[in-house]
């Protein structure tokens, strides 16, 4: 394959990934690494570097739209970013000493979890637990717009949520993905933040988390302009197109199909990792 062919094919693949990721809300980042490694035979370290770059572009590119809706809570985001950025730096350092086979296997497991969590409908959180004193101290409680006007919510289990966010950061730094699924798990299921607030605040945090490990990847020479260029432009183009057609899209079937694709890629990653052929 020559450079022109490689660039065009990677750009088209990334465009599809960005489009599907945006339509299903799963993010395009999760499939970039399997796409590059399994389909194009790219070394997993280059793939992770390019994936991180694309994650930043979609997170920063969509921040304006999310902020306008009024769901994201900037204080929750900023406080938890302390955990995710420390985690991301840890993950980026771990990536250097972890064998690529092990990274492939961990990647597969995280992909399987993402596919599983995406195929499950969001649960409505209960809000009758006692208030958390850290949440009050840190001014994390907020409100969000609903059809019936503004609704207030309280944040629970701050230490547990903070710890899980550190883990989300490690995964993000180690695998070069946004790890939105883990972030939403921490915020929605543990901290009991309303689903819509969790997902939009998570998207907001993903860019900062990814930037924290991207710096280290850049210095280590994992970010190749020849790969990152088509991936970034493709994913961004796909995500912006997806955001435009989202209101009329039939998302449920698409979500199911995309989850299955992710699960299949996950199994392939684990298999290749075990065989050591990646």
């Amino acid at each position: 394959m020559n450079t022109l062919e490689f660039t065009i094919l990677v750009a088209v693949g990334s465009l599809l990934a960005g489009l599907l990721g945006s339509l299903t809300g799963l993010g395009g980042g999760v499939v970039i690494v399997p796409l590059l490694t399994l389909v194009f035979g790219v070394d997993i370290r280059y793939a992770i570097g390019a994936s991180l770059v694309s994650v930043i572009s979609t997170s920063s590119g969509s921040a304006a739209a999310y902020l306008k809706e009024g769901y994201s809570n900037i204080r929750i985001g900023m406080f938890l970013e302390v955990a995710t950025t420390i985690g991301a730096i840890t993950g980026a350092y771990l990536a250097a000493s972890t064998p690529t086979r092990a990274i492939a296997i961990i990647f597969g497991v995280v992909l399987l979890y993402s596919a599983y969590s995406a195929s499950r409908p969001p649960k409505t959180s209960s809000t009758d637990d006692p208030p958390d004193r850290y949440a009050t101290l840190l001014k994390l409680d907020g409100d969000y717009p609903t059809a019936a006007g503004k609704e207030a919510y309280h944040v629970r289990h701050v230490p547990a949520g903070f710890s899980l966010m550190y883990l989300a950061g490690v995964i993000s730094g180690l695998l070069g993905i946004g790890s939105g699924a883990v972030k939403v798990l921490a915020m929605d299921q543990i901290m009991r933040i309303p689903f819509k607030v969790s997902t939009t605040t998570s998207n907001f945090m993903i860019g900062v988390t990814a930037a924290a490990s991207a710096g280290i990847y850049l210095h280590r020479g994992y970010i190749d302009p020849g790969i990152a260029m088509p991936v970034m432009l493709g994913v961004l183009g796909g995500a912006l197109t997806g955001a435009r057609i989202l209101p009329g899209a039939k998302v449920r079937t698409l979500r199911m199909v995309f989850s299955l694709v992710i699960a299949a890629l996950a199994v392939e990653m684990i298999f290749k990792g075990l065989k050591g052929s990646l």
């Binding site: 194009f40 790219v42 999310y66 860019g207 900062v208 930037a211 850049l218 210095h219 260029m229 970034m232």
Partner: protein, 125 residues
């Protein structure tokens, strides 16, 4: 807890969001221009990313990347666009420090400064 004027807070955030979007578009346009230049130069070259070599120093450090881009080196030019993209979340955090300071929320000025310090550490280490 002091009452925070909701609209002021939100307006500042939306402004930051827009700024981020412009940053991303600028970075994308930059990478696209560099990409076209790169393809005109290397389109027929056989590529192999199967084996990991790591990038050379001129694509790994801020000063070297800027120098490469100034010399219109195609790969250096793209890399500067990518660096610009990585800088957008950092700028977002820096602006948030200002936003919280305007609200006189010193607790969050502190928290945001920690995040900013971690990002700067990562980019400069």
């Amino acid at each position: 807890m002091p009452a925070i004027p909701d609209w002021g807070d939100k307006r500042f955030e939306i402004m930051i969001g827009r700024l981020l979007r412009y940053g991303v578009f600028l970075a994308a346009a930059w990478v696209l221009v560099g990409g076209i230049h790169y393809l005109l130069q290397f389109h027929g070259t056989a590529m192999n990313y199967r084996v990991f070599h790591g990038e050379s120093a001129d694509l790994r450090f801020v000063r070297e990347i800027v120098r490469g881009a100034a010399e219109l080196n195609a790969r250096g030019f793209i890399q500067l666009g990518i660096l610009l993209l990585i800088a957008t979340p950092v700028a977002r955090v820096a602006f948030s420090v200002v936003g919280f300071a305007l609200e006189k929320d010193w607790l969050y000025v502190g928290i945001t400064l920690i995040v900013l310090a971690l990002l700067i550490y990562s980019l400069s280490s």
